[in-house]
């Protein structure tokens, strides 16, 4: 396919080609310096290519992170005018905060309960829907559409699903296993109920990345496996799954980050309750900043979350990237 593209593609950036060709021609006589010069030019190109992204990230991501880090060292609650430097004060406050401890436990539970399930489900769905069939598009749409729903709509729908008495969960589940649970008000069930929404919303989303990953696997490998008479499981074990390594790494990182950042459905469905049983880190940050206006503590919590996520990312890279095959 790429070869066809090469053949089909006349150089459309003709003026680019004109500038490039003389450069190459001029470089030929100076063969002695060319290798290192070319390497240096290549390096410069690398930085140049990163420049637009880096400039934007510096303005809208790194600078805010730095101001947040600075703010976390101040007591910025009572009045804006009297920011008082407290050093690690905010960090000590959150370390001693019992709600924060509960929030950490909830977040860990959320992470452990949603990420493996969602990612495995996404992979299964992608494998099931990676074939040409009339029904593939409607099926993919059915699994992906939750990611399309605006939060306000999705959360309202799920509030209804969980309403005792006439919600979908109660009405239809009661016929099978018996109902009567006020899912979102029960300290035991509230977090699993919110987690289920997260699985529902994200499985189709991650499926999309797996589908994209599956396209990059050459069909020749499957041909060869077929000729050798490998079973479907063997093909999955030794071809599909290893070659999806980069995608799995990507999806795991994204899913872990999302697990910490799912705040929207919590906001509408439980507001962190009952008794903080569904309060997770980002919700707690949102609450601290925009409801309690304790900006210093919110900043300290943000930096903590950032450190946790960086740790998770570093870990996934350390463990997974070494085992990943990139070249096909």
């Amino acid at each position: 396919m790429a070869r066809r593209a090469l053949r089909a593609g006349p150089p459309i950036f003709s003026f680019v080609a004109q500038t490039e060709v003389p450069t190459l021609a001029a470089a030929a006589p100076a063969a002695a310096t060319s290798a290192s010069a070319r390497r240096r030019r290549r390096m410069a190109q690398g930085y140049l290519f990163l420049l637009p992204s880096l400039a934007l990230l510096a303005t809208f991501t790194y600078y805010p992170i730095l101001t947040t880090a600075e703010l976390s060292l101040y007591r910025a609650t009572a009045t804006v005018r009297s920011h008082a430097f407290v050093g690690t004060g905010n960090y000590l406050t959150i370390a001693a905060d019992p709600i924060f401890h509960q929030v950490l436990r909830n977040s860990a539970e959320f992470l452990a309960g949603t990420v493996p399930v969602t990612v495995a489900l996404a992979l299964v769905l992608a494998l099931m829907l990676n074939r040409p069939h009339l029904l593939v598009t409607p099926f993919r749409t059915a699994f992906f559409y939750p990611a399309l729903l605006p939060l306000i709509g999705a959360a309202a729908i799920w509030l209804f699903v969980y309403t005792p008495g006439y919600g979908l969960m109660d009405v239809y589940l009661k016929r099978i296993v018996g109902g009567g649970v006020a899912w979102l008000q029960d300290p035991t069930w509230a977090l699993p109920a919110v987690m289920l929404v997260s699985v529902w919303k994200n499985a189709g989303y991650y499926m999309l990345f797996y589908l994209a990953g599956l396209q990059t696997i050459s069909t020749e490998l499957y041909e060869a496996a077929r000729i050798e008479g490998a079973s479907a499981w063997q093909v999955f074990r030794s071809i599909t799954f290893p070659l999806l390594g980069p995608t799995t790494l990507f999806v795991l990182v994204i899913a872990s980050i999302n697990a910490f950042q799912s705040v929207d459905q919590i906001w509408i469905m439980t507001a962190g309750g009952p008794d903080n049983t569904t309060n997770v880190l980002l919700f707690y940050i949102y609450q601290t900043a925009f409801m309690f206006f304790d900006f210093g503590k919110a900043a300290a919590l943000t930096i903590f979350l950032l450190a946790v996520l960086m740790g998770i990312a570093a870990l996934s890279f350390g463990v997974l990237e070494r085992r990943i095959h990139y070249e096909v």
């Binding site: 900043a289 919110a298 990139y326």
Partner: protein, 279 residues
């Protein structure tokens, strides 16, 4: 059983199994669509049913009249495609640099990119508000877009797709005298098309549904997006939830996105059919 019959049987089994799960997945949406046609004042005991005895458009009329939706759709289209266009440029360049160019500090810079994924969006609101104000962009669509022009997610995803591009194809392009840009255009981008489409879908969806940042950075309907319009009649925290009105509003907002997704899906499937069947 003949092989043909066996294959038909597995396909039927597949359709049944995946279809059953798909039905569970889609049930809340079907319920929302059914409920959106339930006339106001009829939230009776059959509210969980998909059957609406006397369908009515009253909810849609009320929802549509609550905000200048045509204007908001237009703004949303400008915002999501503006962001996407800028992102496609920035992520292609950055992903290529990370995937194929050797330079000192590459790993460090890559990790630095990933910070964007990890920082909580709500903690960016205040500092970015100040930056946007300094730039004189308050109350513009550009203000909604500009913080997202660079995308760590896209760079990350595309870097992996680019790393999967065979070296010999790239070398062949170089021998043919292709410049870096031509190689990107004729080798890397076509091979990464499924990834680019997947990222485009994700980017459009994310920014289509964003709410708090547009709400805070803009004041007027001239710059605002559809989610802000939806919020203007569905956030009835003080009162009982009007399921039918919220459902109608959700349908109004999701419909263009659903159509767009199905169109993109076709491209997605086509790119699969091409590479998958013909290699």
């Amino acid at each position: 059983m003949t092989r043909r019959a066996a294959r038909q049987f597995t396909t039927a089994l597949w359709a049944l199994g995946v279809g059953g799960l798909a039905f569970i997945w889609v049930f809340p949406l079907l319920w929302a669509i059914a409920t959106s046609f339930r006339p106001p004042g009829s939230l009776g005991s059959q509210i969980a049913s998909l059957w609406v005895p006397h369908p009515s458009l009253a909810n849609f009329r009320e929802a549509w009249g609550s905000a200048p939706f045509l204007r908001l759709y237009y703004n949303t289209a400008v915002v999501v495609f503006g962001i996407l266009a800028a992102q496609l440029v920035t992520i292609t360049l950055a992903a290529y640099a990370f995937a194929r160019i050797e330079f000192p500090g590459r790993e460090l810079l890559f990790r630095l990119f990933l910070l964007q994924l990890m920082v909580a969006p709500s903690s960016l609101i205040l500092p970015n508000f100040v930056t946007i104000k300094t730039l004189g962009l308050l109350n513009t669509r550009l203000a909604i877009m500009i913080p997202y022009f660079a995308s760590a997610l896209g760079t990350f995803l595309l870097r992996q797709a680019f790393r999967g591009v065979p070296r010999d194809l790239e070398d062949a392009a170089a021998i043919d005298g292709c410049t870096t840009f031509q190689t990107l255009r004729h080798v890397f981008i076509p091979l990464a098309r499924p990834t680019l489409i997947a990222f485009s879908i994700v980017s459009v969806v994310y920014h289509y549904n964003e709410f708090l940042w547009p709400l805070i950075i803009t004041d007027t309907d001239r710059a605002r997006t559809v989610t802000v319009g939806l919020a203007s009649f569905t956030q009835s925290a003080e009162a009982a939830a009007q399921w039918n009105l919220i459902a109608a509003g959700t349908v109004i907002v999701i419909l263009p996105l659903l159509v767009l997704f199905i169109l993109f899906q076709r491209r997605f499937v086509e790119s699969f059919m091409y590479s998958g069947l013909k290699g």
